[in-house]
Amino acid sequence: MLNSYRFRRYKNKLFFALCLACVIIAIVPLVSILVETVVRGASQINLHFLTANVLQGGIGPSIQGTLIIIGLTSAIGIPIGIFSGIYLAEYGNNKYASNIRVINNVLTQVPSIIVGMTAFGIIILYVTRTYSPFAGAVALSFMLIPIVARTTEESLKLVPNSVREASLALGVHKWRTTLNVVLPASKSGLVTGTLLGVARIAGETAPLLFTILGSSFFFQGFNAPMDALPLRIFLNSRMNTAEEQAAAWGAALILILIVLALNIIVRVASRGRNFRWTING
């Protein structure tokens, strides 16, 4: 009976249903997160909330801080990451490069809280000697560099060798071929991967806890604490009044809009290409 064809067909259908149920179960939290954030956050959003400082009940400093930290991190991390990736893709057929590749893989998996500690232990203790946006940007760069290096390597490798050979055959040096021919040819993959990396670090909180600390005021220079949206959400979620907790939802809505917008733009623009939402894993 247990091995009868009918029973096996029935079992087949049962597991089909179970697997479908798994997909539905995974989508429930996603929908709940998005709906709760939009519903609870939207009631907060108004011009005052977006522009006032934290003491006046706004999140202006957090939005400004997030934009500053994304800009600084990109300025430090993207060039280093792209050149590392170029090395791995174009000159990477040796032991040194494969070691660097392994280290990059390990770095993408280092817990973010440790990255924050490292930036604290080096930048804050020895360089700035105070909480500083610069330290936060260095911490986030530590996360961004391996991501960008990996996506750069992957997208450069998609460029067919015939393109390189055509350029070399014209007498162009290898370094000019790399920078002026191969790099532009992989532009779209490069932009996609880099933007996804930036979207990922834009929502990071743990590296900022020990580096920019959080602040109620707008940017006060590179030797003072600064605020950022993820940090503001965390700090406000621990405050006592309902108003402050509600402000956390408002900040969450802005952050999720920034992060998802980056992801969706990239995803739609690179439709059909084999890129993932995250670099994780």
Binding site: N12, N99, G121, F142, T278
Partner: protein
């Protein structure tokens, strides 16, 4: 001729030096964690790994990370227990069962889970999931199975179980998307062979496809474990943050603490060099744990890609 060689050489050396930044970052991590934690290891030695108290009061200092190591392992274990079956179901559905039309949008949705910042998971956990977990899972379990110590205590929703639950949700996209790729990489000849001897679709997946891809799937699970172990913000916001002997796990429905949440809560406020050093020591233990996990994952996944060529192990 000379000029061309030198120009290329300079470029190559310059970008090789830039690529060394990865090594520099790794060394920086290792340096800060080892030099920063030297004080606490000098003072307490191996007691730091086995102790359970966390006391910064002058004259009675005692630091031990055991409760937080256990808390980290337990929350990650719960996450795997809940997250792995769900992720595998998703991977199987997306790779083998779903109609072509819904496959792409569904996998977008699942992977969108990975794009949500962890602090937003935390906020949602603190104000939404906490009550689901308390009312629909913890209270019933506590009522009917409360005699098992693991389900005892007073379920408040902000505890080890909820932390594990939120981690389960967070690791789904990682495990599901890697497993889906592994399953898609299984050659069709394997499936055709199974069908030809009369296996149903499920039997084919269960006995042939999954066992062909098992090392890759194992690698995916370990990657998810790595993410769960290092996750900071979401856990910090829902686990209740007990410190010292109270953080020793007695029930899933007790407040607990993981290594990352311990550091996130206390590092900045720690008053003196010894307690700062203790937090850095906790960071070192965490880094060693997560690197060990990732090395295992790396070995498993590279083994997969060797297998993919054709021969089965």
């Amino acid at each position: 001729m000379m000029r061309r060689i030198t120009g290329d050489k300079i470029f190559q050396i310059a970008i090789a030096a830039i690529a060394a930044s990865a090594l520099a970052i790794l060394v920086a991590n290792a340096y800060v964690l080892t030099s920063g934690s030297a004080l606490v290891f000098d003072t307490f030695g191996l007691d730091f790994l086995t102790g359970t108290s966390w006391n910064a009061v002058e004259g009675r200092e005692a630091f031990g990370v055991l409760p937080y190591v256990l808390g980290t392992l337990l929350t990650s274990g719960i996450a795997l227990l809940i997250g792995v079956p769900l992720s595998l179901g998703i991977a199987i559905f997306l790779a083998e069962m779903s109609p072509k039309k819904v496959r792409v949008p569904l996998s977008y949705l699942v992977e969108l889970l990975a794009a949500v910042p962890s602090v937003i998971y935390g906020l949602w956990g603190l104000f939404v999931l906490r009550f689901w977990s308390q009312n629909y899972i913890e209270i019933p379990l506590n009522q009917y199975l409360g005699w098992i110590p693991l389900f005892g205590g007073t379920p408040l929703g902000l505890d080890i179980f909820t932390a594990g639950l939120i981690l389960a949700i967070m690791i789904i996209p990682t495990i599901a998307s890697v497993s889906r790729e592994v399953i898609s990489a299984v050659p069709n000849s394997i499936r055709e062979g199974a069908y030809s001897i009369g296996a149903t679709k499920w039997e084919t997946i269960r006995h042939w496809v999954l066992s062909y891809g098992r090392s890759g799937i194992f690698g995916a699970i370990i990657l998810g474990l790595g993410r769960a172990v290092g996750e900071t913000m979401a856990v910090t916001m829902v686990i209740g943050n007990a410190t010292g002997p109270k953080a020793m796990v007695s029930s899933l429905f007790d407040q607990g603490q993981t290594l990352p949440s311990l550091i996130a809560n206390g590092f900045i406020e720690s008053p003196d060099p010894l307690s700062k050093s203790a937090y850095v020591g906790a960071g070192l233990v965490l880094l060693v744990m997560s690197i060990a996990i990732n090395v295992i994952a790396y070995l498993m996944v590279t083994r997969l890609f060797k297998v993919k060529g054709g021969a089965v192990e």
